[in-house]
Symmetry: C2
Subunit: 372 residues, 2 copies
């Protein structure tokens, strides 16, 4: 196997595929790129067994030759070292050649590297079938859905199912739900697809949304996996088995107290007041009546803080509630709206954050008991 | 005590003084700013006992009123919280007022904080005398001296004396020497001062060089401390007791092999080749003869790399030496020169790095035994 490739284009392909490769693995072969040169182009594959990415560097892109002087073949090369070498080389073109079967020689006009490599037969067999219900999503739409929901998923693996986003298609409407059991984000979108339901690791969705750039994406949903296809890249991910919690119970139906505020001013005020909240808890109290809306915090050891909100619309009479500042800030930011509506059902009930006029995104947050 | 101050100017003074304040301290008072309002201005003091900084926010700076509506007095306020509050407030002016002796009320037009504070009598007594031999240094000169030597000092406290820069004045010439025993940086400068010798913690010198901005600095050297004065700020530091090692023995006198290279090209080539050096050791081999200069590395497990240097001047015949890439890169960067000269005494002798035509800075590095 041999090829001379445009260095920057090759680096881009390697960087994309490298997202699937871990820092360590019980299977050493998984620390390698599987590189296959054929007349269709250079295919690079990387995997940690849960997530697999393949991407192709074509021989020509329009008129531009990306690969020259090649002979077909396949090999495994250390992802960590190959990517560092290709990044640090200065030449426009780089030549990779397998010599003696297990040495990859990498060179430009200046530098010369001999990297110990492995035969491609040593790579584990992976299921690379593309099957299942498919849904097409525009790049912008996909990225927005993920950024508006992913932060609410759990980062703790104790309840593995909560590290997934529940994706459900029903009668042409898709819903994306994430919850860590203290808060919930639910986004809906119209789609053309048959009904399905799956739980996709939030990590996978975040990585896909970073990698797609301005490419529209097709998702293929099968029982035990999901495949994303965009440009010359295919991403295969396991899905998380088990039933996602019935989240509709978390969402109140009536909200007698409703506050509309400027999103960034409200976030800034919470950030200031929460400076004096007890450090690990980040809790503030919101006190509202018809004449005044105030955020306050209190810590025996440190002191107290309070700030009145300038611009607001409030209806519902005297009402107090305490909550975690970061949860509320995350939810407000996710609306991507200048103004937001906080709607409350009661002091110990979950409350809702939405953007005015947008019913596609609902954020639900559980309050905390107030200490003062 | 009460004052209303220009918020941004106050924040600058607090940020400067905060450099001396640690994250924790056996003496809780040291986690506070000592703030004293008098007719001379607002003095802020911070200390961790080893390093003490005082800075003054004057009542007026030229025509600009920086402090209004004040009453004199003194208090201790938590550095961590005060600096965060002043940073996050939005008003142009901020008012600080001591109420009930142990509560500091901090407010602008919007936000209101009550911070538990302490009486100023609870602050430990510090030696704030400014005495000793004094030396004046231009801002640029001081910053250059520190950046060219500080990296060579030890960061390990096992031999405390090596965490200092040895500063010596002899017959109108000052020398600044730092060494971690594997490498050494020595900078000399002409000064007007009596003879003295002291060992100043490198941490102090680095902090001072960050804080002086474009202010010239006066150093006062006494037996057990050093004081730096610039603008409206004074920095007091302990010095490190004990004798600095006699470093002149580390420096060879004859260099039969001499290589001149472009600094940045040589650094880039070392960075590439060292990608395949055994990870913790970062060692490369430099092989020179009259026709070729080459950098190479080799690791049994990973592979090998080599690169010829393009532009060089070499005299001395066939010669090989191995060294730590980071030590050589640091030393080359410190010269701030486009070209550098590496001069070698022998394969197992320390070697010298200098900039052509500049004899004020000498860098010495110990080689390592070559593995191949």
């Amino acid at each position: 196997m041999k090829f001379t490739a445009d260095r920057v284009s090759l680096l881009k392909v390697l960087t994309t595929v490298n997202v699937a490769i871990g820092q360590k693995s019980p299977t050493p072969a998984f620390l390698n790129f599987k590189i296959t040169m054929s007349d269709e182009g250079l295919q690079v594959l990387g995997s940690d067994n849960d997530l697999t990415i393949t991407s192709i560097l074509p021989i020509k892109d329009g008129d531009k030759e990306l690969i020259t002087d090649y002979s077909t073949g396949s090999t495994l090369i250390s992802a960590k070292y190959l990517i560092e070498i290709i990044r640090k080389l200065e030449g426009d073109k780089v030549t990779v050649e397998i010599i003696d079967e297990v040495i990859a020689q990498i060179s430009d006009l200046k530098s010369n590297f001999k990297l110990n490599s492995m035969k491609s037969e040593e790579y584990p067999n992976l299921d690379l079938m593309i099957i299942g219900e498919n849904v097409e999503l525009k790049a912008e739409e996909f990225k927005k859905v993920i950024s508006q929901t992913s932060f609410a998923a759990s980062t703790k693996e104790i309840r593995l199912i909560l590290t997934a986003i529940n994706v459900k298609s029903e009668n042409g409407i898709a819903s994306f739900v994430a919850t860590d059991s203290y808060r919930l984000a639910k986004k809906t979108a119209n789609i053309e697809a048959n009904d399905f339901e799956t739980n996709i690791p939030v990590k996978t969705l975040v990585e896909v949304s970073k990698l797609i750039e301005d490419n529209d994406v097709t998702m293929y949903i099968a029982s035990n996996k999901v495949v994303f296809k965009f440009g010359r890249t295919v991403i295969y991910s396991r899905v998380i088995a088990g039933d996602f919690p019935k989240t509709s119970r978390m969402i109140p139906t009536k909200y007698p107290y409703e506050l509309k505020v400027n999103a960034s001013k409200f976030i800034d005020a919470m950030a200031r007041v929460s400076l004096l909240s007890v450090e690990r808890e980040r809790i503030v109290k919101l006190s509202m009546n018809d004449d005044n809306v105030e955020i306050s915090s209190k810590s025996e050891q440190i002191g107290s803080a309070n700030e009145s909100i300038d611009l607001y619309e409030y209806s519902g009479g005297r009402f107090n509630i305490s909550f975690n500042v970061d949860y509320v800030s995350d939810a407000i930011k996710a609306t991507q709206s200048e103004d937001v509506i906080l709607a409350f059902a009661g002091e110990m009930n979950a409350f809702k954050i939405t953007a005015p006029g947008d019913d596609t995104l609902v954020q639900i947050i559980t309050p905390v008991r107030s200490y003062y």
